[in-house]
Symmetry: D2
Subunit: 439 residues, 4 copies
């Protein structure tokens, strides 16, 4: 319910209403656009080339100041441009995202074991400070456990038939050809394995969900190519012909938040925990285990009442910063940020804290992981290259645990807003009161 | 997790099961961590300082190679380090995210009007190519409409009482003091306005949702400080005392996907549309309006069956790339990527396409917008500084529309996988077949 | 669907798979249906008549045994058939649902105040016993508070235009005619009031959500007729013509579970609470406040992990039984069963328990409330006729609180399964051990 | 957004606000309840006895009129009271729900094949008329296909440990004992089979989801008793001891709407379809396939925007009416009403309509199915007793398809409100215009 203006005596200046009403006159006449000539601006010719001439041609279109150009196409970037080939089209330069260091964070996982320094890329003040506090608290308490409990990533082609009966025959055929599908898929990749096929029927539509292991790559492209090979096989061999079919029919949860991964996994599923004595909570977080548990109860309920997927403070800050720093696909934050947090007091008065993330999309090979600065971030973690993806996922879980502890503590101790004020001041004078500033 | 091994004759190598079973021996003894000494690695002392000595001290901790250090702390970054002060703590350098150019994209909005060149930061091949195609198609068709239809961003403090009766008295008091709250809030900001207060009662818990306009800033910090001032006023004046209270009790949807914003707004709500003749669809997208509408039907259903919030191909690719390029808070992709897409054929055979995003968190002042390379990206858009945030939101809507058109077309025309293959080849030879490669 | 047959050595006999495979042969040839003649069975001619001849004609179609007919069309039903006119079509008799008595349940609400005996109609053993225990516990503890905190019910007509610009003009017109809409709506009803209109724009679609108060009726029909009058007015007067429009475009949440009502209300929103000393918890529930709070934590998380709307044990048992007994629309259980439960221990060791239901659809006039046995159930509650709907909603809240306490206690004390076993035995011998049997 | 009162000039009379404000004075003093004496009303002593003396004793408590008593405890009910023993406690009589006849509905399923007359119990005018229309249309078109595609129902006990390491060891032990679990479970039941065990780990919590086939019973009690036996086995044998455990930890989706069943099944999953020539659509529904498809598009989007689970007009009307008539557990409407509907036009201009319901909880033995009038309803369907549950599920799917067709057509043809008006008149004069009245 909104409070009514009559009662509260101020106008609602920017409702849907007001904006809509502003537009009672047509926004434009056909063929005419204010601020743009009738003939469109010249188009960027799409190309993967990254040579100096290519960049120059693109900048010509833009007519920006030399300063703007230099901010993106600086000397270092130009010297390294060749690295970006095959990772982007229409390159014009690089955006520089500052990286702050968090740690050490002691992680005791199945794959990640040791004290990690974690590079986080962000432009938001207090973020690194907040994770820093959480990480150091965990380490001071002896470290956290963080365990990969499941993995697998899928593609879900969809097949539209005329009738349910055709669906039945198609499904029967598909079930009889899983071994062939596996062979098709694995011919496209050295590292991927098809591990499951699930079937979903909705009227005359059939969705096949193919689930894969993808080694140390996050694997979205790998499963696309493997599933394409399966679809080609189906298209050539299957006697039941669909009206139409799509390589991905939107059941896989790709880059979207869904409740689906809780029931299985998408990417990597990690759960992390730590038990912290009250003394450490008071020392580092300026609050008590009881108050943290109170927050959890009220916050979990707040999440439920707002229709949130999962129940968490938020995992997006840590994941976005780590994904950007380490050459992960930052768009996957949309799905990876789904998860649950739980805080409670133990019988002996400690704070028990745990996070579970069923949808981490991380890899240590492929994608942006080979670019110079991104690989440097993975190197700082000691998690660059083959054999490291599972450990990276466990570090993500531990990092999110650190973030939840610090964020919720800031809300409990009243330092949430204070941190933002102090950092804003810090912007002016470079000075920084370590203890008061987290969020 | 289960797998159908008997039937399909292959082992499920990495189920939850297997991982769990691997861990039947304790992962660690108390006090002992494999790969880490009993004494933790030295901690990073948290500081906002960005001087060369500060960076050097942090790198000393890391013991990485000189090459790693140089990749982050290159000469340009060191020269510009001062810019990052107040935007990050524990700075060690910058990560360079390549920026590709898309456009022109013709937008006819209430605030955005004209042909936009859009810088997108990503490390994922084909992303820029795909948006490029979508944008040029829209522009070739005369441009799209993209309109801000609502705006407002909130904080939701929570108050825990002993009984419902106390809640009632508290709510009555709060409703009688909205004008005072407004005054408190607006004393903390020049640009923010408190526009609404909503009340939610759950047993002896009360959530107050304060909604604000925040000018050209995305505004999360602004509403935090304003709501803190209100909470301080409540704490001093209200005769009904809560057992405990939190500045944010997790009802506001901050950095989490929720269905909540569809019913109102969080940040900026934009809807964009375009009608495209079949001829243009065939020329640019190699498919037909009918097939695009078929995909939408099957894909929307796929989203529903997977429990996704909203119904879309995905908005995360475009938003993450634009947010990173333009100094927006990339963590907000977790919430901003919620929305709906709709494709249908019109009576005259055109493709009607529309997207609605109720949760765009964008600003043209504050946050990372003042950093050199980020500001350069806003300058390319012509949307840097005061008075431009609403236009930026409309450009986001138009960009997502372009992305959905190209993504879905790739799935319709079978070029989704092909694009990934071609770009992978492109990585080797720098060459690029413009027409075949989008996703 | 998959099963782990290899590992667990048993066949998955009824997977989607198996069923699908069973159907590889067409289920039927066109024009031929096994078990049915080519010519369909004679149709029931639709009619509201309830005379003996009408019933007889319908039974003629059925060719059932005399015993079957008598079970539905018994003497009492035939004598009272006239009462059912206007409540059902094609009447053939009545189904008899046994009613059990629960109480007293002491409720201290804004509208419901006193000790209530509650009639519950169900065929499921242990349900009445379980609610009985919860109600008597609450009453023994001095009663619960149950408060109506909001009310309102809506219809959401949808209007499809050609372009967003038309939407804008339509919305501007609609906003300027709210007073006229109010007049139209209220001409159709003595008891209904239009209290709000909200606007939702999605591309070229506009949803108007009209929200009403409906006095002591649940009100779904009332708001349908009132909104139809508004739509007629729009259709006659509005200069912006939609391509098509629907009286209800599925945004109102009618008879479907949605997260929407948490943010506002649908029907009546009630929150109820009770604080129970540990001693009473042990006496009645055979468990402790701590264990109840432990269950809540684990159960709330279970609900979140399963993608449930809300967080509750379940409200459906109590609501379905009360709705059927009291002539409410039983289909509304689909939406009314959405809500949240919270249990925690208080600082002094009591159990604090609360439920919140934002979507109760109840009335004490209209619908089935005037039928003889249904009205008798309302009379037992003392809540029949005008002026009682809000109290009925508060009783629903209190009843659900009683149900959650007893259900969760059964899970905590291990009596959940025991109750079902004992009652099953009770079926044989009519005997019943009061203390061991709840669920 | 709500429209503001200042602009629209009417007060919001019943907001949360207003109700809350009404309660600024305490609703009650401790120990004192208006309308109730200090000493509570006498309690109903809980018992399964159904003898005349037992009923009499209960009615003594109520002090109602003789008429009220007679409406529930009529002669027929008293004569049949013995039937209700073991199905309810504290019996005081029966509520009579009128039953209307729908049909014939021609179903071509894997188990249901033939022309069905369907008894629906409801007190809501127009419901039977609307389903009647839908059923006769389908039958006129040659019948619909309705197929059981999956089945299985589960219980999810939860186990809380101290650490994740204990969880790992517990899970490893559990996975090694699935055969023993199967033996334990099947010792409790002749008809139930344990077919799957899935594991979900969240921090130090483990949920085991046991999935069963339950023959012709809906099976909730069967799986409770079987899972109890497994839990007893775990409790006796497992070397890893939980802090506490619950027989059901709320992951199974019992009687709550969740997105979970789309990914697998809960109870029975049915999908039904029909293709209808435009001519039949016009004849029976007074609209066109195109308009039905238009509604579907707008209505599906409306459901998504309101955060509904699934996408449907509503399945609750038909399911509640069938469940009550046929002795099913009416509380299960809360979960069974989740599903999806899809309408589209086919290339040849027909209307293709389909529904999918993943969560039907139906049985033809057990629960209320043996009571006289409920069994009579199953007899009318020809689906009473063993061997019929799967066919009943397919009839449910077909019925919901009929309901969606008629409901959406009423919205398309403008007869939705008209039906309610006509039936309201019918209440006065018993007369009924067959063609104009559906909803």
């Amino acid at each position: 319910m909104t409070s009514d203006s009559a009662r509260t005596a101020w106008p609602r200046v920017a409702t849907q209403t007001a904006h809509a009403a502003d537009r009672t006159r047509p926004a434009h006449e056909p063929g005419e656009v204010a601020g743009a000539p009738a003939r469109p601006a010249p188009r960027v010719r799409c190309s993967a080339h990254v040579g100096p001439g290519d960049l120059d041609r693109r900048w010509q279109l833009l007519r920006t100041s030399a300063e703007t150009r230099l901010a993106l196409a600086d000397a270092v970037t130009l010297a390294e441009a060749e690295h970006y080939r095959g990772h982007i089209e229409n390159l014009i330069g690089t955006v520089k995202v500052p990286v702050g260091l968090v740690g050490p964070l002691r992680v005791m996982g199945s794959f990640a074991r040791g004290d990690y320094y974690i590079p986080l890329a962000t432009t938001e003040a207090t973020l690194v400070a907040s994770f820093s506090r959480g990480a150091q608290l965990i380490t001071d308490g002896g470290g956290c456990t963080s365990v990969l409990v499941n993995e697998g990533i899928g593609r879900s082609p969809g097949f539209a038939f005329t009738t349910l009966d055709e669906c039945s025959r198609f499904v029967a055929w598909a079930l009889a050809h899983v071994t062939a599908f596996k062979r098709c898929a694995e011919r496209t990749t050295h590292h991927g394995k098809l591990i499951d096929m699930r079937v979903s029927i909705e009227g005359n539509h059939v969705y096949l969900h193919f689930e894969y292991l993808t080694g140390d790559a996050a694997g979205q492209n790998m499963v696309t190519l493997a599933t394409e090979a399966i679809c080609a096989y189906i298209s050539e061999r299957c006697p039941v012909r669909p009206q139409y079919a799509f390589l991905e029919a939107n059941l896989s949860g790709d880059k979207k938040a869904s409740a689906r991964s809780f029931g299985s996994v998408r990417g990597k599923k990690v759960t992390a925990e730590v038990a912290l004595p009250g003394e450490l909570v008071r020392k580092w977080l300026r609050t008590t285990p009881e108050q943290m548990a109170n927050y959890w109860r009220m916050g979990a309920m707040g999440g439920i009442l707002s229709g949130t997927v999962g129940a968490q403070g938020q995992f997006a800050n840590g994941l976005a910063a780590l994904y950007i720093a380490c050459g992960q696909d930052a768009a996957c934050v949309a799905e990876s940020a789904v998860g649950v947090t739980r805080f409670e007091t133990t019988p002996r008065g400690d704070l028990y804290a745990t996070v579970t993330l069923p949808n981490l999309l991380v890899g240590t090979v492929g994608g942006g992981t080979s670019l110079p600065s991104q690989r440097a971030c993975l190197d700082i973690l000691g998690l660059s290259g083959p054999g490291k993806a599972r450990a990276l996922a466990e570090v993500c879980g531990a990092l999110c645990l650190a973030g939840e502890l610090s964020l919720v503590a800031a809300l409990c101790a009243g330092s949430f807003a204070r941190a933002h004020r102090a950092l804003a001041r810090g912007r002016a004078n470079g000075d920084h009161d370590e203890e008061a500033t987290y969020a």
